[in-house]
């Protein structure tokens, strides 16, 4: 017993105990919030992870992140409509196509963005985002598109609860992306080089790492993952050229909460965002306020971190 009380003093254990308590409470009071919150968290985490990778290694906020997912969704739509392929299978061509697309975008505008002074960087990223969204708007109009798939509405009944099972694919995707990225960063030469560049670009250059090529690879990997996520997104949701932006902001919120360079923590904080959004959504008449949560979280994180810095 002494050991337990000692462990409870450590912040990590305290957080774990609190979250288990909150989870149990939710499971008892609003079980649907718990289930759908976890599914939503998976979606957010899978979207935020490639952005976090780019931010950690290259050190730039990709304002167009969600919009690449939108393009991925349209790509999957094309493949499934004209190729007659299931959108979930479109993940494979999407990965390849968006890896190449990422290379092109990097070698074209993005490389220049990186070299520009900081203020120009923001303007260019902003301009790139507008160009992507508006080109999509011109190509496909702002009409919502949806593919109806039979297996998407699959459901299970456990006790008195009936819930959709397909959405758990997002949780699987998030865990897969996280594990894949960790393996890539720790085990492969390119990944280790990327870690070094993320810690200290100049130092990495001194020891002979090709920083530019590392940036190219990481950017392309990030775009490839988010493009493939677009195919997964299309399976369940309806898409329009403007769906990307809210996800960029939510992904940023998750990264701000997790801390830059901390990929694993994104999974945990995405639970906070997903569960609290679904918690608000579960109250009839107040559902619209759910879209405000990520902003409140961002501001809270900024306030806490700046307070901590002042104390130190």
């Amino acid at each position: 017993m002494v050991k337990l009380s000692e462990k409870l003093r450590q912040p990590n254990y305290r957080i774990a105990v609190v979250s288990i308590f909150v989870g149990a409470l939710l499971a008892y009071w609003k079980p649907y919030v718990l289930i759908e919150g976890i599914q939503r968290a998976g979606l957010y985490a899978a979207i935020a992870l490639p952005m976090a990778l780019l931010m950690g290694v290259v050190g730039i906020v990709n304002l167009a992140h969600g919009d690449f997912m939108m393009l991925g969704a349209y790509f999957a739509y094309w493949v499934s409509v004209y190729g007659g392929v299931d959108p979930l299978l479109a993940i494979v061509p999407a990965l390849a196509f968006f890896f190449l697309f990422g290379c092109i975008v990097y070698l074209g505008p993005f490389k220049r963005i990186l070299q520009a002074p900081e203020l120009n960087q923001i303007l260019l990223a902003f301009g790139l985002m507008i160009v992507l969204v508006q080109s999509a708007n011109l190509l496909w109009t702002s009409r919502f598109i949806k593919i109806s798939l039979p297996y998407v509405s699959a459901s299970t009944t456990v006790g008195s609860l009936t819930f959709g099972t397909f959405e758990f694919v997002y949780v699987v995707a998030a865990v897969t992306v996280l594990v894949g990225l960790q393996l890539f960063l720790k085990k492969t030469t390119w990944g280790q080089a990327a870690l070094a560049v993320g810690q200290n670009p100049r130092g990495a250059k001194v020891v002979g790492i090709d920083v530019d090529r590392t940036h190219l690879i990481i950017f392309s990997v990030s775009i490839a993952i988010i493009g493939a996520m677009g195919a997964l997104f299309l399976a369940r949701h309806s898409i329009s050229p403007f769906i990307g932006f809210p996800f960029t902001l939510r992904a940023f919120c998750l990264i701000a909460m997790a801390g830059i360079g901390n990929l694993t923590a994104i999974l945990w904080v995405s639970l906070v965002l997903g569960l609290s959004e679904n918690f608000v959504l579960s109250f009839f008449g107040y559902a619209g306020w759910a879209d405000l949560i990520y902003f409140v979280l961002i501001i809270t994180v900024i306030m806490i971190k700046s307070r901590q810095r002042q104390v130190k």
């Binding site: 520009a116 301009g127 507008i130 508006q134 902001l249 306020w289 405000l292 990520y294 501001i299 900024i302």
Partner: protein
Amino acid sequence: MKKWNFLLSALALAFVFFLPFCTSVYVLNVVGLILIQMTLALSWDLLLRSGQLSLGISGFFGLGVYTAALSCIHAKIHPLLGIFFGGLMGGLFALLIGVAVLHLRGMYFAIVTLALAEALRVIVRNVPTLSGGPEGMVLPSVIFHGDALKTYWLLLAWALLNIVISIFFEKSRIHFALTSIRNDEIVAESSGVDVFKYLVCIFVFSSSIQAVAGGMYAHIYGFISPESSFSFELVLLPIIMAVVGGVTTTWGPVVGAILLGSVAEILKVKIPYGHLLIYGIIIVIVVLFFPKGIMGTFKERMQTNK
């Protein structure tokens, strides 16, 4: 050089003063819209002089729109007083949010201000009894009962006031403080500049200018809705104006606003769907190839000629 400047300004002043007497109401409306965007561009540039790039113009603009319109709808006060309240609200909100947000720099500041506009839009949508919700609201009457001439004078006065403020601002103590922050924050701080205080000051100031512009917009058009008040175009267009004209100068945003405001009006008529794409391409090209804008390039030419 100075003589030319003076002559040009006198000519421009004479032009804007005699314009309403020799054109149609349509042209006056277009010029009015350009003047609103000019104030937005100028106020954005004021903040940029501290090195902080805000993408939340539409947030404060929309806040001004809603405060000015709703205070007139619910409390039945005079529109001008409503516009004043709009500015006050914008300033207060900027103070509140600035204390948190101004701890951030660069890219992080930009994306959080972008989120701020989005958050305000969500709030407005979710209080339908107060704000009319997603459908928006129609004001009982427009300002000056729709007299195009009087609204033109109002907008012109506000724009000119902003230009004058910006000119005097360039010689003020706070401007030097902000320039030093932009150049190197650590150096500024170690030479005794209270960085955070000055940033909050200029953030509040520029936000309230944007909110006042929003209030005027609301009362001139007599209709408010979350989509039009927090529109993305309101972030994009002023920024392009300032960037094309040349940032961190007074005349840059002004020249850019006149040039791009006219172009934008033509584009809107000719290409109703793709004009935002063209803005995006303009912003990329200008930043890549002419980062100093028209006024910056012009100034450089003048100096090399000497």
